[in-house]
Symmetry: D2
Subunit: 303 residues, 4 copies
């Protein structure tokens, strides 16, 4: 398949079942809500090393938030509900409870609940006060700038992690600018995040390593300095590759984000050094979700 001269490989992105939640952090203004959100979603690029993958979903205006203040919606993804629960609690305690003027609310409904303020409230040393509004329990915890208001629980939901595509370009500048275009385009979509730094990742990995005890290592088939290797998947004109990884609340969200990002890259086209689009998978046996590029981009074919 070819879009605007760019070859779309007949392959698929392999993604995984995850557990996810959304929380809403509000503050006296966007600046401080964002400080809390950026801090709590830092060091959250990959479940393997960070425990959780997290990011800002979107800014929320005061007419959309539970307490009528400016807010930020944050999404967190983990491999199990247990890890998600632990990471959420620690990160809220370290990065939201501490942040001037913030409050935190559930951003996901549903029957499966995990603690949000339930344990954090004990920071109040007995001075915390419970309040039930509309059937939901909230805690008011005395802190130095006044009170930290937090909802007792938030919802936990099934989700999808590791949707992805790769941009293959002639040079680093071109791969980078095209990746930025994709990131800009995906950034405003609801229900998904791009957990890696700035939304991009350049250290794609394969399963296994020649070193014992390492589960993963560089994806040598896609390293431009290793094009001389037998298994290299890069054609001579590819000088740089970058990947966009997407976590979404549903498979449909991930597909939509992949489609949006690939379109943004392809619109730059061969004139801007874009050679091809591919995706990362591990043979198909590890992840429950297979996102086939040709299916996702089907109706754009031949353009």
């Amino acid at each position: 398949m070819v879009i605007n001269g760019v070859e779309i490989e007949n392959t698929f992105a392999e993604a995984f079942d995850m557990k996810a939640t959304r929380i809403i952090i509000t503050a006296i203004n966007f600046k401080w809500a964002r400080h809390a959100a950026v801090t709590m979603t830092g060091f959250a690029t990959s479940v393997i090393g960070c425990g959780v993958e997290a990011g800002i979903e979107r800014m929320m205006h005061s007419d959309e938030t539970p307490d009528g203040r400016p807010g930020v919606a944050v999404l967190l993804f983990a491999t199990s509900g247990k890890v998600l629960t632990k990471q959420l609690e620690t990160r809220v305690g370290q990065c939201v409870l501490t942040c001037p003027t913030t409050a935190v609310f559930a951003g996901t409904e549903g029957e499966e609940r995990i603690p949000l303020g339930k344990h954090v409230r004990y920071f109040g040393d007995g001075y915390q006060v419970s309040k039930i509004i509309g059937g939901k329990r909230f805690w008011r915890v005395p802190v130095m700038d006044g009170e930290f208001l937090c909802e007792e629980t938030t919802g936990k939901t099934q989700a999808v992690g590791g949707g992805n595509f790769l941009v293959l370009a002639r040079t680093v500048s071109q791969a980078l600018l095209a990746s930025e275009a994709a990131i800009d385009a995906i950034y405003h979509l609801p229900h998904c995040i791009m957990p890696f730094p700035g939304g991009g990742v350049r250290s794609g990995s394969k399963v296994g390593s020649k070193y014992k005890g390492l589960f993963a290592s560089t994806n040598d088939s896609y390293c431009p300095t290793l094009k001389g290797l037998k298994g290299s998947r890069l054609t001579p004109d590819v000088g740089s590759a970058m990947e966009i990884v997407i976590d979404g609340l549903t498979a449909a969200d991930v597909k939509h984000a992949m489609r949006t990002g690939i379109h943004a890259v392809c619109s730059l086209g061969t004139a801007e050094g874009i050679v091809g689009i591919t995706a990362t998978n591990f043979g198909g046996k590890l992840g429950a979700h297979h996102f086939h590029l040709w299916e996702i981009m089907g109706d754009s074919a031949g353009t």
Copy 2:
């Protein structure tokens, strides 16, 4: 002591011996160097919950960095060299190795070295290449956008964590604006960081809790909603308090930052609702460093 009408309490900030390191992250431009730095210093507000306290020290121009590209200097502080080593390795692997176009270098000299690229290099699956320049070893690890260049080790140094002062104001707006002024003023100082979200913290803590298993709980003496308690340290006119916490490479760096920040707050004065400045300590037996406010601000007295 009174500065511009603001009461400086005769007390001290109690700070701790830490181990620290500086690394330099470079990239094709500031945008991507900063993405890596922000991501790797996220979730690093307090050693207790995050393992490490970290932050951006400053931007570095291309004429200052080892590879002549734009860069960011990052400082990391931990309670032991062992924890520092582990955190550095994990965070570089998750947040710098992954970030498009970055490289990473030692930012601290000295004989005590900890691994920087030493283990991360194994990601290269045997394709990594060593290079010695000027007596220092570097690794070139093949990745999808080209190569990840990393220095083998960085220096480890003695440091000071937990320098602090508290802003006592009539209202939240006033405490917040004054804290922002202090944060703006401290931000550009070398050799120190403010690890909490946006540089401020409102959940000051005391040692111990009425709940078993909790080591710390809300500093009730400084909570405005608990002014009715016997032990409250807040006068009736204080409606909000915020703390600035500073980690620095030396005691002198912390002192200078405290002095700079306190001056910025006091310059707003009682006219802007600033009532007093105090500091957090735990009786003086936990921390090796006692930063006395009157000593630090001595020559400003009576202004």
Copy 3:
């Protein structure tokens, strides 16, 4: 009328009939579309000294813009169609034509048209090429980075300039933080801009001056340092006042923005030093639009 303890004065904002247009600036990414937009809407705070009042209305995603690239919607307001035409042409020529990778499109429909690329095209020195798509004429002007694409005309529409309200607070910090809250809240509303620096203005003016040749001078009735004057409108507890000025495409847009901003201020309340809300008028004979605060905030009374 009182909202959350804040006195809403029984007065009105006096606003004026204006001519306005919207243009859409696109670029290879948001960064460069925004550079063009920020530059072209600079020095555009007041029609009196700048000729035009202009600002960014909102970011536009690639699925919303005429050429499928990221974009920025810009609104411009002037006292006559003639001035609007002149300012638009000069600013597009100086700040958009010059800006790497940009294109510019009409953002307002309607029968009344003013030149957008019509004259700017002559920069092409005869090498420009016309193209008609869907009944609209576009010009492709050769420039160093490729081509500057511009639509021939944009729509001109009736509009309203000078909607406003004043925040009266005890101190500068409180007036500023409350103004920022209002600006944050209004910023995301469509069809309007706040033309002054950062959205706020502190140099309110009255008609006339003791100096000949000056049409306007400081609004002494609202200057806190002149509270001793007979005509002062400030009560003893007001230490600082700031104004939010709003230009909108319709009176309804201005009203909605005023209401949104006033709510944001009042939600901070007397606890945060907010004393009152008032508005600027010139006796009612200069401007065609009178926005009465009590009418706008009517259903919030007594809360």
Copy 4:
């Protein structure tokens, strides 16, 4: 001359004598000082259409500014002292006087003075108060948030406008990324600004036009879509060109900035699609300053 594979053309940038001034805008914090500075330096890309070329030189910390508050240094350049005077006065009146919490000070010393607050003070309607400190006159003008403090005059100095160089690259992405690298590198240098949007310009011009009354038109020799023309200066491999324009207080400042920027571009090299560096001149008879690329880059030759 060749640097890192990039051809440096044996030509010169032609620059002009200008009059310049520096002012220092301070505010309660960086945010608001920057709002004033960004607004007052908007629509100031070229003296031809905007009257003045202006930009932010750098942020100034509170220990560097006259009133001990955070500040921004702004540089303004015009073709005559008269125009400079007029533009300064209007822009300060519209964009600084109006901006919450700001004050404005001279940033240039010397005997030749132009009015800064001298006329703006009449906005005070007779309530303004003069104050002489250290031999300098200041005005305190009552406004709604308190007082606007402004120094009576600022210095006027000889300066140089229109230093420049052109980046020639294979594609738009590459020209853009290399231009951004140059802009990042030049941005932190003192005594100079890049007046065009975001620091870059793509609509280079030649003197004259086939249309009467137009003084300038597209520089067709450097338009990639006009490579078929006889006079094209672009080789077949150049697909996009971008220019960086620099105004500096002295010729040495401009040279240093050109050198810094060209180095940043060349460090990306042919591997990133950079083909060459050239400069814009008008035959050498219009401008008093000729900046020869080979002289400026001399000691980098052959690298």
